[in-house]
């Protein structure tokens, strides 16, 4: 039951992140939503590691560490792109960046 409660908590966090990424038009809020979804994924890794048959293998822990490192790289590049977009368009609204629309 503990495992399911943890997974449910992580699902709720994921959906908050999804809500932020879908409804907010500010690019920084979209990035915040993506970070929340990645945090929910990390919580799943730790929960499944805690209730696995062989926790001493540390698989979930290693996955979580790599995923945190990748999330940090993603945040750095994403924010650099947002700053460059703001420099060109004077706005961080995702609806303003429409030059590539067909």
């Amino acid at each position: 039951m503990m495992l399911q409660v943890l997974l449910a908590i992580s699902a709720v966090l994921f959906c908050f992140g999804l809500l932020a990424a879908l409804t907010r038009s500010n690019a920084i809020m979209v990035l915040i939503g993506i970070e929340m979804m990645l945090g929910a994924g990390n919580l799943n890794f730790i929960a499944f590691w805690k209730f696995s048959a062989h926790p001493e293998a540390l698989t979930g822990v290693l996955f979580a560490i790599f995923s945190i490192a990748l999330a940090a790289a993603e945040a750095a590049v994403g924010l650099a792109i947002i700053i460059q977009v703001h420099r060109r368009l004077r706005s961080v609204d995702v609806n303003a960046a429409h030059q590539l629309k067909g």
């Binding site: 290693l62 706005s91 961080v92």
Partner: protein, 190 residues
């Protein structure tokens, strides 16, 4: 300070009730909800910081101390600071948004929020159904042993079994940070 740490570690933590981990989880969800709902971007980023702190505490409570402290260092120390700096460097202006030729085709804010909320609720319902009502949900879960992830074992695993991914991650992080610096650099007309 030293006495306080000694008193804290002497408390009977292994007899603490199992639902105690719900406290940081609840704080994390409340802060995440506030981060999604609030209008002011700075408030959103600060609520996100609180949510990440609670997530790190939850990791520590679940026995993954190393991941918890990495979470605190990387997310709370670096990522949210980056987000705050990005918010400060990109002041809002209404110039560009108003001359958008696709404006007429854009959905109104209310419809947009309703659609996004509907999709998020649908995903949540699907996930919860899979967690609680799937056939696998009734299978016996191995009981949570006092699983610990000592830093020594993590380091040995990283360097023995996942050396190649570790080096790949190092190269990726270096490339990503150099790329981010290049991207954000001001272009000077030559």
């Amino acid at each position: 300070m030293h006495d306080l740490i000694q008193k804290l570690t002497a408390l009977p933590w292994d007899q603490a009730p199992q639902w105690l981990f719900l406290l940081p989880a609840l704080l994390m969800l409340l802060a995440a909800a506030a981060a999604v709902m609030l209008r002011n971007l700075i408030h959103c980023a600060l609520c996100l910081t609180l949510s990440f702190i609670a997530l790190g505490v939850l990791f520590i409570a679940l026995g993954a101390e190393f991941v918890g402290f990495v979470q605190l260092l990387v997310y709370v120390g670096a990522v949210t600071m980056l987000i705050l700096f990005a918010i400060l460097l990109t002041p809002a202006s209404e110039v560009a948004a108003s001359n958008n030729p696709f404006r007429a085709f854009q959905l109104s804010k209310a419809i947009n929020a309703a659609l996004g909320g509907g999709v998020a609720l649908l995903v949540l319902a699907g996930l919860l159904a899979a967690i609680f009502f799937s056939p696998h949900a009734r299978e016996a879960v191995p009981p949570a042993v006092a699983a610990t992830a000592p830093a020594k074992a993590i380091g040995e695993n990283l360097l023995n079994h996942t050396l190649l991914p570790l080096q790949g991650t190092a190269i990726l992080l270096t490339a990503a940070l150099i790329g981010a610096a290049l991207l954000a650099k001001e272009e000077r007309p030559s």
